[in-house]
């Protein structure tokens, strides 16, 4: 053991040990979060919510996010949930898409032509998500779990979480399965355990500092499957909603404190 200790000391100068590297990153994150430009996107999000669009030239202000038509307060913190009119469980983004087609008369192709934006031009779903999520600040996360379809969606999400698939045989648990694990510098929260899921889920959607982009949970599912080397999940599909539902139910009870800030 003495030799290894010596070797470790030898390299201490050029490579801080993993522990204090992790500790330092812990200090970096709140400092970045304190100065998060995420709020900047709430304003354009609100304008989009009120902007008449589509063949029917109607805004989204009558869209029912589960708390009643047009009610925003706390709506995000209570999603995903079952919607009788569509007879399925929906997350915020799939519900917005539903309102775009039913209220605004927009076709699915047109409304989903650009579901993930860029730093220059965030997508409609990204701006709307930041604005609507902001209206749930401080509200306790309580997704729907009383309806049969809500429980079934939760079970499906849990099974998907551990389902190994794709060219590299990964499941979500391959990376988000064990405590204290990192990919490069990135700690990996064990998202099927409430104590780790709560702080994470309560901070989405978020502003990603490295790319100056707004990112949502639909984007997160899409990009994880991309890195799992599977084909692409369809935006708002049952698979993506089930995973988001499983994660949100696991994070139940945490006061929502987003929109947050990511690496």
């Amino acid at each position: 053991m003495r030799l290894i200790a010596f070797a470790a000391a030898l390299f201490a100068s050029c490579a801080a040990s993993a522990q204090d590297v992790g500790k330092e990153i812990q200090r970096y994150r709140p400092m970045v979060a304190a100065g998060s430009p995420a709020e900047l996107f709430e304003l354009p999000g609100e304008e989009l919510w009120k902007k008449p669009q589509g063949p029917k030239n109607v805004s989204l202000e009558r869209c029912d996010l589960g708390e009643g038509p047009g009610v925003l307060k706390g709506a995000y913190a209570h999603l995903p949930r079952y919607f009788k009119d569509a007879d399925r469980v929906m997350d915020l983004e799939s519900r917005l898409l539903y309102c775009m087609s039913t209220l605004q008369g927009r076709s699915r192709d047109e409304a989903t032509a650009r579901v993930f934006g860029s730093a220059e031009r965030p997508s409609e779903f990204e701006l709307l998500s930041i604005y609507i999520a902001g209206e749930s600040r401080g509200v306790r996360i309580e997704p729907g779990m009383s309806q049969p379809k809500e429980k079934a969606t939760y079970e499906l999400g849990r099974a998907l979480y551990f389902h190994r698939v794709g060219a590299w045989d990964f499941s979500c648990a391959s990376c988000h399965g064990d405590e204290g694990k990192r990919i490069r510098m990135q700690e990996l929260p064990v998202l099927y355990k409430p104590q780790y899921a709560r702080p994470v889920i309560a901070s989405w959607p978020a502003y990603r500092v490295s790319t100056s982009q707004v990112i949502t949970l639909q984007w997160r599912m899409n990009d994880c499957y991309r890195q799992m080397r599977t084909p692409e999940p369809t935006f708002g599909s049952e698979t993506t909603v089930a995973l988001i539902h499983f994660l949100t139910v696991t994070a139940r009870g945490e006061p929502y404190h987003g929109p947050g800030n990511k690496r």
């Binding site: 998060s36 900047l40 304003l43």
Partner: protein, 104 residues
């Protein structure tokens, strides 16, 4: 590109007024290429002015090394509820924007 939204919060801290201001701006360094490989020209805020009740209290010169969508925190001496705080910027394309808020 019209100047994007700004947001500001001015609140009384321990013996000072805490001013936190967020600005929408690409702060392009002129070193970045866009999706089809073209260099995006330099475009960044150069001057920042903070005023309290109409009097300039901070004059700043900043560069493209300030992060995109800049966020600044300043501390002004004293200050009382209702004092008028104004922050304005001017960039290297001659565009400018300003925001005003009363101390909460």
């Amino acid at each position: 590109m019209a100047a994007g939204p700004m947001k500001m919060r001015a609140s009384l801290g321990a013996g000072f007024t805490d001013v936190r201001v967020l600005m929408t701006h690409p702060m392009e360094t002129g070193l970045r290429k866009d999706a089809d490989g073209k260099i995006v020209p330099q475009h960044f805020i150069q001057n920042l002015t903070v005023k309290m009740n109409g009097k300039t209290v901070i004059d700043a010169q900043i560069s493209q090394a300030v992060s995109r969508n800049p966020v600044f925190s300043f501390r002004l001496k004293g200050g009382a509820k209702g004092d008028k705080i104004e922050v304005s910027w001017l960039d290297n394309h001659g565009e400018s924007a300003a925001i005003e808020a009363a101390v909460a």
